[in-house]
């Protein structure tokens, strides 16, 4: 079939070229491997265009003899053949064309996600312009991408951004106390083990959080050209404050230019940071806008596709009407393949609201680390429910954010959060182990973000510097951590940059800490409410490579340093093994596990608490105090100076 097509295309070349090379081209097609035939067909198309356009010099004189045929009114045919086609051939052509169109439109109207994805028109032109969205789908089918983009959504004004990809739940980036970014319970991706201190339970709902900095969307690729297809309804990106804000965000994000990102954060959204945007940009390569699902003056919901992979994400943006607009809520989260538009536009009704409230309270009573606090949360939320505070909320994100805020007002526990997922969350048994597919996805994500390791440097004065933004599961990321620690093997002093580290797996904390001690050392304990048991964490008996005992250690912290990263800092501070430099950390010491509480909702319930073997307490709510208090931005320079002054180990 393909061969027939190929031969047919070859025959349409200019006569002189055809006479000389047609047989040879066909011979090559016959000799080439079957898997290359697609490429050969593409090649012949290009060749056809080339020979008929820019190679006139080679065919003009030969064409002359057949030219008169053009006078009969079939110029296209006359060039190729000297005789006119039969009438019946023309009729057959019409019928064939009709069938081809019918098949194409049939396929279009039965595709699942309805969006158009066309690269290339800058957003500026689009904001306010019409964007066509095919009612009947087209292009690419969503497939799972490699990205960790499970970015959450989130938050209220004042809340903070969370870093994408930080494993810990509910990591909040700046102002503590407020509710924070949402997380993504993505069925099938990255759940298990993403939380702080690796709770062993990996329920489907386990989520991972990240934050607005990760939000992304790109209008760059809106398609205007498709407007030609009349059968498609249109979606409009309103030219209001929300549209403008998103346009600005997209421009800054896709520019890859730090200065532009900073300008955006200052102007529209103080909760995002240029650092966060930058690292998320590097991870995703930017986003292409696929479709605007909901477009209002102050609210947008849109579908984007990551440039680095096929991962798609749903974004939502709410702004306050001001000049310039102020971002109230901005989030993005990855969606699993096959998600339909009806899932994405899911509205919360009264029955769902009451079901979710009941289910979250039940989960809290059953496993929240402090039962009496769980009771208090129940009382507070029931009172609000009675007063009808939730009645008007029909947006999933807003409802999850509101519940999170109300639970946190009582518990002040930043690990506790309710999350909304636009995609349906599969109902799996609570104790289900992560499937091989989950594991493969986790591995792929870790590989994609290099296990959170961002920088490794040898600084002047033989100081080793490592920056990593999560404590990933050593099962997957052990080799990366071992390689990083060995790179630092000959340094006189080590700087751990945890300023953007949102935590992770206590096993990784133990692995990295082991390099800093010669003797077995007791690092931390985790007490679990469920069976009133305490699990001790110690350095490991063996790690590959050179240990760094005796070398000066500095840890850089910020108020975004959270969860497992705080444990690492707190452990070493109490063991007097490190000097902490920077800001007081976020303050979350309760490992969390995720539970599915509805088709679209999960709750992350802190079920245990850290207990330091030396201080007998932890940093929950207070954060870890640095030894040297300086703004996070100055922490590295300060550490370098201290390391130089102190010179060499004692």
């Amino acid at each position: 079939m393909l061969r027939f097509f190929y031969r047919w295309l070859v025959r349409f070349h200019p006569p002189r070229f055809r006479e000389r090379f047609a047989d040879e081209m066909l011979s090559i097609f016959d000799h080439a491997e079957a898997r290359d035939s697609g490429k050969l067909v593409a090649d012949v198309f290009i060749s056809l265009a080339r020979q008929w356009t820019i190679r006139r010099a080679f065919w003009e004189e030969n064409v002359a003899p057949s030219a008169p045929a053009g006078a009969h009114g079939f110029p296209a045919f006359s060039i190729l053949e000297s005789s006119k086609p039969r009438k019946s051939a023309l009729i057959e052509g019409v019928v064939l064309t009709w069938f081809a169109y019918a098949a194409l439109f049939f396929a279009l109207s039965h595709s699942k996600l309805h969006y158009v994805y066309v690269p290339s028109v800058a957003f500026e032109k689009v904001a306010g312009a019409e964007v066509r969205i095919p009612a009947s789908g087209t292009n690419s089918t969503p497939t799972p991408g490699s990205l960790p983009t499970t970015t959450p959504t989130v938050s209220e004004a004042g809340t903070n951004s969370q870093k994408p990809d930080h494993p810990s739940l509910g990591r909040s980036r700046s102002s503590p106390s407020k509710s924070s970014a949402g997380s993504l319970p993505e069925p099938g991706r990255f759940h298990a083990r993403t939380d702080f201190m690796g709770s062993s339970q990996s329920s489907p709902g386990k989520s991972k959080s990240s934050g607005p900095d990760s939000a992304a969307g790109v209008f760059q690729s809106m398609e205007l050209t498709l407007g030609a297809a009349p059968a498609w309804p249109q979606a409009t990106v309103p030219d209001g404050p929300a549209g403008q804000t998103l346009a600005a965000w997209l421009r800054a994000f896709n520019s890859g230019d730090r200065a532009q990102m900073e300008e955006y954060c200052q102007k529209y959204d103080a909760n995002q940071s240029a650092d966060g945007m930058m690292s998320f940009r590097n991870m995703t390569g930017g986003f292409e806008l696929i479709q605007v699902v909901e477009g209002e003056r102050l609210h947008l919901k849109f579908l984007v596709k990551e440039r680095n992979s096929d991962t798609q994400a749903i974004g939502s943006l709410d702004v306050k009407d001001a000049e310039p607009a102020e971002v109230v809520q901005f989030g993005l989260r990855a969606i699993p393949p096959g998600t339909s538009i009806s899932d994405l536009t899911f509205k919360v009704d009264a029955a769902t609201r009451s079901r979710i409230i009941d289910a979250s309270i039940a989960q809290l009573n059953e496993s929240y680390v402090f039962p009496e606090v769980a009771k208090k949360m129940e009382v507070a939320v029931r009172a609000r429910q009675k007063q009808g505070e939730y009645d008007a909320i029909n947006d999933g994100n807003a409802f999850a954010a509101k519940l999170t805020e109300n639970f946190q007002e009582v518990s002040h526990d930043k690990h506790l959060r309710v999350d909304y997922s636009p995609a349906k969350i599969p109902d799996r048994p609570l104790d289900a182990k992560p499937s091989p597919k989950d594991k493969a996805q986790y591995r792929q994500q870790m590989e994609h973000m290099n296990c959170g390791f961002e920088k490794l440097e040898h600084l002047d004065g033989n100081i080793g510097y490592v920056k990593f933004n999560m404590f990933a599961d050593p099962d997957v990321c052990g080799p990366t951590a071992v390689a990083a620690m060995n790179f630092l093997g000959y340094a006189d002093a080590i700087i751990f940059d945890l300023r953007e580290n949102g935590g992770g797996d206590p096993k990784m904390i133990a692995l990295i800490s082991t390099y800093l001690f010669e003797q077995p050392t007791h690092l931390n304990d985790l007490w679990e409410r469920k069976d009133n048991s305490t699990h001790q964490y110690w350095t490991l008996p063996y790690v590959p490579g050179k240990r760094l005992e005796g070398k000066a250690v500095y840890i850089l912290t910020s108020k975004q340093t959270f969860s497992g990263a705080e444990e690492f800092s707190y452990n070493l501070k109490n063991l007097k093994r490190a000097t902490l430099i920077g800001e007081t950390t976020g303050g979350g010491a309760h490992p969390v596990s995720g539970h599915r509480i509805g088709d679209h909702f999960t709750i992350g319930v802190p079920f245990a608490r850290a207990i330091n073997p030396i201080s007998k307490t932890n940093w929950e709510g207070t954060g870890v105090e640095p030894d040297v208090k300086v703004p996070a931005a100055e922490a590295l320079a300060t550490a370098e100076r201290l390391a130089h002054d102190q010179k060499i180990p004692k």
């Binding site: 070229f17 090379f21 040879e24 066909l26 011979s27 050969l40 012949v44 060749s47 080339r50 080679f58």
Partner: protein, 117 residues
């Protein structure tokens, strides 16, 4: 003749590879494609459309001549091509030029070693 050849430089990658593949002996079209693939360690895949487009030009310029079919070939449709002395000349000139580029490149890259700020 020399000065006349240099006006064809630099050669496009396709032209360069085709001439280079024929420098080793006469080949048919498919042979050229495979030889180019081998020479470039699989990096440069020449499609038949591009190949014959270039052969058409090269024959016109008399850098390559067409030998016609060969008896005993396993596919009688194949025609063989040969590098002419003029083609060999232009190829040699191009290689000389590339040597200069490589030399210059090595010098520049060595002096521009990255420094850490």
């Amino acid at each position: 003749m020399k000065e006349n050849v240099s006006s064809f430089l630099p050669l496009s990658p396709a032209t360069l590879h085709i001439l280079l593949s024929l420098a080793g002996g006469d080949l048919h079209g498919y042979g050229i494609m495979q030889e180019v693939l081998r020479q470039s360690q699989g990096q440069y895949k020449l499609g038949p459309g591009t190949l014959y487009d270039n052969l058409q030009k090269l024959v016109e310029l008399r850098f390559v001549e067409e030998l016609g079919h060969r008896d005993g070939d396993d596919d009688p449709r194949r025609r063989y091509y040969r590098l002419t002395s003029r083609g060999r000349e232009v190829l040699a000139a191009e290689i000389m030029r590339l040597q200069g580029v490589v030399r210059e490149g090595k010098l520049r890259l060595q002096s521009a070693r990255p420094r850490r700020a």
